[in-house]
């Protein structure tokens, strides 16, 4: 890995009136990564993408795409991005799909006409259809054609699978994998359905109420956020340092189950040192591991 970032934000903050949408976010998306940004609705995922495209103003901090400031170099940044907005509404609802695709082709010098034709076929776009008459799923498919056909080096996909039925969703994600094999691309996907894009993700960021509470590689997340099943003496109290590292726990008699963050070797040693016998160290699915950061006990 070259160590360069396709996307980097530095202390990025956005406020809507008195409400904080993003609070000092330092997002780092390495070039070539498929980075999945997870969080509840309203956590700041869409705002992050809009700031990167300069569609949303920032209150503090800055953002760079391929080293270009997103405010000072907005048009250059946007030319390098394929974007699927969260909204299914389209500004050109009165156009036919074919007309809209021509319109986009004229806009991007890098438009690949042959590839666009292939995508239109793959995603079954009816060129004569009026954009306004498309269903949610059809709109998503049209947006995918528009985002991919100019082979941009960065894809910003805001809930890309929203509205797609399971069959189309799988075909779309498989197609995205092929696209990445053919075109060097960095992908930033926001979703609250991480299991839908789980296998594709190699980096994960977790947004919680405007704060980026976790950011790491998939492998690191799965290695360091695991569930420990422990046997404990009656009335056992966890040592203080583990109380802060614990994300979720449940108790049943002398057995406790705990999701903890840290090197499993260290955590196991600490638990043993505190009088608990570790019975099982179980990996979590990517979704469970990411969601652990959204649990209420995070800083308890």
């Amino acid at each position: 890995m070259s160590g360069a970032f396709a996307v980097a934000t530095h202390g990025l903050s956005v406020r809507y009136g008195s409400k904080t949408a993003l609070a000092g976010v330092d997002l780092r998306v390495p070039e070539g990564a498929v980075y999945v940004l997870v969080g509840a609705n309203g956590a700041g995922k869409s705002t992050t993408m809009k700031v990167l495209l300069n569609l949303e103003r920032r209150d503090a901090g800055r953002a760079e795409v391929f080293g270009l400031d997103t405010v000072a170099r907005g048009p250059e940044v946007r030319a390098q991005v394929g974007y699927i907005p969260e909204s299914h509404e389209h500004a050109y609802a009165w156009m036919t799909c074919g007309r809209l695709i021509q319109h986009a082709a004229a806009h991007y010098p890098a438009w690949d006409h042959a590839y666009a034709g292939h995508l239109i076929e793959v995603f079954g776009i009816g060129l004569q259809r009026k954009v306004a008459t498309l269903s949610k799923g059809e709109t998503r498919r049209l947006q995918l054609v528009l985002a991919l056909a100019h082979r941009p080096p960065l894809l910003l996909l805001d809930e890309p699978t929203d509205g797609l039925d399971p069959v189309v969703r799988n075909r779309t994600l498989a197609h995205l994998a092929e696209h990445l094999a053919d075109t060097p691309t960095t992908v930033l996907i926001s979703t609250h359905h991480i299991h839908e894009v789980e296998s594709l993700a190699d980096h994960v960021g977790v947004l919680r109420e405007g704060l980026l509470v976790a950011q790491m590689t998939r492998d690191e997340l799965r290695r360091t956020v695991v569930r420990y099943r422990i046997e404990v003496p009656e009335g056992w109290q966890p040592p203080p340092e583990l109380r802060t590292a614990g994300l979720r726990r449940s108790h049943a008699g002398r057995e406790a189950q705990w999701t903890l963050v840290g090197e499993p070797r260290d955590v196991t040693a600490r638990l043993a040192g505190a009088g608990a016998t570790v019975r099982e160290v179980a990996p979590l699915s990517l979704e469970e591991a990411a969601l652990a950061f959204l649990a209420e006990e995070v800083s308890a």
């Binding site: 070539g32 799988n170 197609h175 990445l180 190699d202 799965r222 290695r223 019975r279 099982e280 979590l284």
Partner: protein, 127 residues
């Protein structure tokens, strides 16, 4: 060759892909000079980042299990023989590791597990 990824397996995806290739060689579904699926094909089939597949193939190449023919793809090395001793031992080790983990989870020690396996195997042979 069929490659399956287990979403409950905590190991990195590239290691899982490597293991699937090794297993296919041990059981004989992949033989010397057989082509591996292209990075593009396997990435689309598994819905993973193509870079994950590339990483698995590069590691396998480093281990001498596969080699790259420029412009043609990745192939199983001619020296690889089905069920080579070391490869079988490694596979057995992985299977044993999983069994051991499961035993510990259930509060069983190694001896109890080994005895149970031997008893079960003897019973199955009698059938």
């Amino acid at each position: 060759m069929l490659v399956n990824l287990d979403p409950n397996d905590g190991r990195p995806l590239y290691l899982q892909i490597m293991d699937e290739v090794r297993r296919a060689i041990v059981v004989g579904t992949l033989r010397a000079e057989d082509p591996l699926p292209s990075v593009r094909e396997l990435a689309a089939e598994l819905v993973v980042n193509p870079r994950t597949v590339s990483q698995a193939y590069q590691e396998l190449e480093r281990e001498g299990i596969v080699y790259v023919r420029r412009g043609q793809g990745t192939f199983v090395s001619p020296s690889v023989r089905r069920g080579g001793g070391e490869r079988r031992r490694n596979l057995a080790r992985e299977v044993a590791k999983r069994a051991l983990l499961e035993a510990r989870r259930n509060g069983l020690d190694t001896e109890e597990l080994v005895m149970a396996i031997q008893k079960l195997a003897a019973e199955e042979e009698d059938k």
